[in-house]
C-alpha cells in the first residue's frame, strides 16, 4: 500500500475507532449489551422546552 494512503487510512481509523469505543460505553451503561431488563434513556425534552421551541418559532416570524 502507498505510504501516504496508509497514513490517511491510519488517521481515519484512529478517529473512527475512538468514536466507536466512545459509543460502546453508553451501550454498556444503558444495559444493551449487559442483559439488563430496562434499557435505554429517555429524551430530556420536557414541556417547558417544547414551549420554548414554539416561542422561538413565533419570534422568527
Amino acid at each position: 500500500m502507498d505510504r501516504t494512503l496508509f497514513v490517511v487510512c491510519l488517521i481515519v481509523t484512529i478517529f473512527v475507532g475512538f468514536q466507536a469505543g466512545y459509543s460502546l460505553a453508553p451501550f454498556l451503561d444503558a444495559g444493551v449489551l449487559g442483559g439488563r431488563e430496562e434499557k435505554g434513556v429517555e429524551s430530556k425534552i420536557d414541556d417547558a422546552l417544547k414551549r420554548h421551541y414554539e416561542r422561538l418559532y413565533r419570534q422568527d416570524e
Partner: protein, 496 residues
C-alpha cells in the same frame, strides 16, 4: 451549423486503475491529501476540546470522510452503474452496489436486533415508484446520482457541483412553493392535511409539498419485511431473518442473478466454449462468482461502505444514549444555537448515511437569511429545521464526504478541476432538477430512499429502487435517441 451533442458523461466504463501522473505532480497531490485530512483532524480535535458535544458532529464528519473515500475509490455511482448496464451491458457497478447493500444490511440488522437502530421506515406506496422513476431519469440526465455527484465534486468536476446546487435549489424551493401549485392539490389531500392537527404556523393547507406529505404520503403504511412476516424489527429473528435475509439477501441475489443471465452469462459461455467446456451448474456458479469479483475496487469499496454505514448507526446511537438526546437539535440548544430549529426543536439528524436533505438545508438557510420564510413548511419547519450549516451534523457529513473523495482522488492522481461545456452544464441543471423533485417525492435520494431503506428491510426502499432502475433505463434510451438525432442533424448540415 455546429450542434452541441454533449452527453452528461462518457458511456464507457471508467478506468479501473489510476492513470499515470508526473512524479512531481503526484508528490504535490499526495501532500495536499495529507493537508486535507489534517484539516478535518484538526477541526475534530479542536471542536472536541472546546465542547464534548462536538463529538456528535465529528462522528458524522469521519463517517462522511470514509464514505467519500469509498465512493471515489470504487467509482461508486448509481447513475454510472445503471447506465453502464443498460447502455453497454457492464454489470460491474451494479454488483458493487448490491455487495454494499448486503454488508450494510448485515451490520445494521445486528444493531437493529439490539433495539437501538437509528433507522425508521418511511411510508411507502405507488409514490415511491413514481419518485424513483423521476429520480432515475434525472441521475442519467445529470451524469451522476446524488452521492456520485458529491464524490465527483471532490474530484474537482464542476458539472457535479452544478448538479448538487441544482438538486438543492429544487428541493428547497419545492418544499415551500404554494400559490398556483395549490390548484394542483386534490381536495382529499387538502382535507387530510388540514385534519392532522399540525401547528398553525406551518399552514399545512398551503403549499404543494406540505399537502402531498401530510395529506397523502403520511396516510400510507410504514412496512418492513420483518413486519410482513409477523416479526418484530428489534429482534434477532426479525432483524436477521426478516429484514436481512428476506428483505435484502434474497432480492440482492435475484438482482445479481438477472444481471448474470441477461448481461454477463453470454461472455462467460463464449469463453467456456473456446476452452471446449460446457456451462453446467458448476460452470454457471463459477461465472456468477466471476461477475461478482469482476471489479476488485468496486467490491472492496462496497464492502467497506456497507460496514461503515452499519457502524455509523451504532456510533450515533451510542452518542445519543451518552448525551441523553433523541435528536441533535437538543445538542444545538445546549450549545446555545437554537436558530433554525424546527417547531419540535429538531434538526435533520438521520443517524446514518444520507445525502440530499442537508444540501437542501444549505439553500434553505441562505434563502431564510435573505428573507424567504422557509420555516412555515413541513419539510423545514416541522421535520428538518434549517440550522446554521456550521453546526448542522449532516452538513459535516456531506462536506467530509467531498473531502474524503478529494483525498482519495489526490492520492491516485485523479484530482483535476474540470469545467463542463455549456451543454453539459445544461444537462447537469436539468438532471439536478429531476433528482430534486424525485428526492422530495420519494423522501430521499438513491442513498436515503433506496440504499439505506432497502438495507434496513423497508419495503419502500425496493419500490423506490424499482422506479429508479426503470427511470435509468428510460434515461439511457432517451440519450441514445438524443445522440442519434443530433448526429443525424450534424451530418445533414455537413452534406449541405
Amino acid at each position: 451549423m455546429a450542434y452541441d451533442i454533449s452527453i452528461p458523461a462518457p458511456i464507457v466504463p471508467e478506468l479501473e486503475e489510476p492513470r499515470a501522473v508526473a512524479p512531481s505532480s503526484a508528490s504535490r497531490q499526495k501532500l495536499w491529501a495529507v493537508v486535507v485530512t489534517g484539516v478535518f483532524a484538526l477541526v475534530s480535535v479542536a471542536t472536541y476540546a472546546y465542547n464534548e458535544y462536538y463529538m456528535y458532529l465529528s462522528a458524522y464528519l469521519w463517517f462522511g470522510f470514509v464514505y467519500g473515500m469509498c465512493l471515489q475509490y470504487g467509482r461508486f455511482c448509481f447513475a454510472s452503474a445503471f447506465r453502464d448496464l443498460f447502455a453497454i451491458g457492464v454489470p460491474r457497478m451494479v454488483v458493487g452496489i448490491m455487495i454494499a447493500t448486503v454488508f450494510f444490511a448485515l451490520v445494521s440488522s445486528l444493531v437493529s436486533a439490539t433495539g437501538f437502530s437509528t433507522f425508521h421506515p418511511s411510508p411507502s406506496g405507488a409514490h415511491s415508484v413514481v419518485a424513483g422513476t423521476i429520480f432515475g431519469v434525472g441521475m442519467v440526465v445529470a451524469g451522476g446520482c446524488a452521492s456520485g455527484s458529491l464524490y465527483k465534486a471532490g474530484e474537482g468536476k464542476v458539472a457535479a457541483m452544478i448538479v448538487i446546487l441544482s438538486i438543492s435549489v429544487t428541493q428547497s424551493s419545492l418544499a415551500d412553493v404554494g400559490g398556483p401549485l395549490n390548484a394542483l392539490v386534490p381536495a382529499s389531500w387538502h382535507a387530510s392535511a388540514t385534519s392532522k392537527g399540525l401547528p398553525e404556523v406551518l399552514a399545512a393547507g398551503d403549499g404543494w409539498l406540505d399537502q402531498y406529505l401530510a395529506g397523502y404520503v403520511w396516510n400510507h403504511p410504514t412496512l418492513t419485511f420483518a413486519q410482513v412476516l409477523g416479526l418484530e424489527n428489534a429482534s434477532l429473528a426479525g432483524a436477521l431473518g426478516g429484514n436481512f435475509l428476506v428483505g435484502v439477501v434474497l432480492p440482492a441475489v435475484a438482482v445479481l442473478a438477472i444481471a448474470y443471465v441477461v448481461w454477463a452469462r453470454k461472455g462467460h459461455v463464449k469463453e467456456l466454449a473456446k476452452r471446449g467446456g460446457a456451462p453446467g451448474l458448476r460452470g454457471e456458479l463459477a461465472g456468477f462468482w466471476r461477475m461478482v469479483m469482476s471489479s476488485r475496487r468496486t467490491a472492496i469499496a462496497g464492502l467497506v461502505l456497507g460496514v461503515a454505514c452499519g457502524l455509523q448507526m451504532f456510533v450515533i446511537e451510542g452518542l445519543r444514549i451518552k448525551f441523553g438526546i433523541r435528536n441533535a437539535g437538543e445538542l444545538l440548544t445546549r450549545l446555545g444555537s437554537d436558530y433554525g430549529l424546527s417547531v419540535r426543536g429538531t434538526v435533520f439528524d438521520p443517524g446514518y448515511w444520507y445525502v440530499t436533505t442537508q444540501e437542501a438545508q444549505w439553500v434553505g438557510w441562505v434563502a431564510q437569511k435573505l428573507g424567504w420564510n422557509n420555516m412555515d413548511n413541513i419539510f423545514f419547519g416541522y421535520v428538518n429545521g434549517i440550522p446554521n450549516p456550521a453546526l448542522n451534523p449532516a452538513d459535516w457529513m456531506s462536506i467530509a464526504l467531498i473531502g474524503g473523495a478529494a483525498v482519495m482522488a489526490l492520492l491516485h492522481g485523479e484530482f483535476k478541476l474540470k469545467t463542463p461545456t455549456l451543454g453539459q452544464a445544461g444537462w447537469a441543471v436539468l438532471g439536478g432538477v429531476l433528482m430534486g423533485v424525485g428526492s422530495r417525492l420519494g423522501l430521499g435520494c438513491n442513498v436515503g430512499a433506496f440504499f439505506v431503506r432497502a438495507a434496513n428491510g423497508d419495503v419502500g426502499g425496493w419500490l423506490f429502487g424499482v422506479g429508479m432502475i426503470a427511470g435509468a433505463y428510460l434515461g439511457v434510451r432517451f440519450f441514445g435517441w438524443w445522440t442519434e438525432r443530433q448526429m443525424r442533424r450534424e451530418l445533414a448540415a455537413l452534406d449541405l
